[in-house]
């Protein structure tokens, strides 16, 4: 079984400032890792994913995340945020073999302050 912890339920950030959204996971097996974004009144959209290879993953809209196996973390970062980044961000994991379901964290609401 897997679990995901997003400790920060809300993160306010000034426009053009950097941001880091934290994600830690627990799993008895190797996992794939994902970040999804949910804009107001819209469905979940995939930001980026880690499957294997380089631990630094780049996604859409200037976001990137780094997989740290020893710390079981997959934090999301952006060097300079924009008003349009205001949304809910979800970290998710999925087991490598024979497991199709995504296990999500509770989400982090990112609010950009003009």
């Amino acid at each position: 079984a897997q679990s995901v912890t997003q400790l920060d339920s809300q993160v306010p950030v000034f426009e053009e400032a950097p941001v880091e959204l934290r994600c830690n996971y627990s799993s008895s097996v190797s996992v794939y890792l994902f970040w999804y974004v949910q804009y107001p009144n819209q469905g979940l959209q995939l930001l980026l994913k880690y499957l294997s290879g380089s631990t630094l993953v780049k996604g859409i809209n200037g976001f990137e995340a780094e997989f740290n196996k020893s710390q079981t973390s997959f934090h999301l970062r952006k060097p300079s945020v924009h008003i349009s980044d205001t949304a809910e961000y979800f970290c998710a994991v999925r087991g490598l073999f024979g497991n199709e379901k995504l296990t999500f964290g509770t989400g982090t609401r990112l609010t950009i302050i003009p």
């Binding site: 995901v4 997003q6 794939y32 999804y36 009144n41 819209q42 469905g43 979940l44 959209q45 995939l46 994913k49 979800f90 998710a92 999925r94 199709e100 379901k101 995504l102 296990t103 999500f104 964290g105 509770t106 989400g107």
Partner: protein
């Protein structure tokens, strides 16, 4: 191309009633998933179809919940004897197959009064 679509977008019903929620996956996607997102929570897995068969229904909370995908495309999530605790956003996702990226629809917001 068209994404995952879900109908209705909103559904209000009374406690004890029966509801059906529909999901149209992306054309050609063989895998389909249902999740439920309660207020302030992340989505929680309900059921996964590969083709017409339910490959994993371990997330269905009880026997009031049932889902079908008779022709391997459109899926219907059915909830009998609805309870106020069933109020949530029901999300559908599809993918090209096992272990592939899941693409989500906009969800159906269910309110049980």
């Amino acid at each position: 191309g068209a994404g995952v679509s879900q109908t209705p977008s909103n559904k209000v019903t009374e406690k004890g009633k029966y509801v059906e929620l529909r999901c149209d996956p992306i054309s050609g996607h063989t895998a389909l998933y249902w999740y439920r997102q309660s207020l302030g929570q992340g989505p929680e897995f309900l059921i996964y179809f590969q083709g017409t068969g339910a490959a994993d229904d371990s997330g269905l909370p009880n026997d009031r919940f049932f889902a079908v995908r008779p022709e391997g495309s459109v899926s219907t999530l059915k909830i009998q004897r609805t309870e106020r605790g069933d109020s949530a956003v029901y999300l559908c996702a599809s993918s090209t197959g096992r272990q592939e990226t899941q693409y989500f629809g906009p969800g159906t917001r269910l309110l049980v009064l």
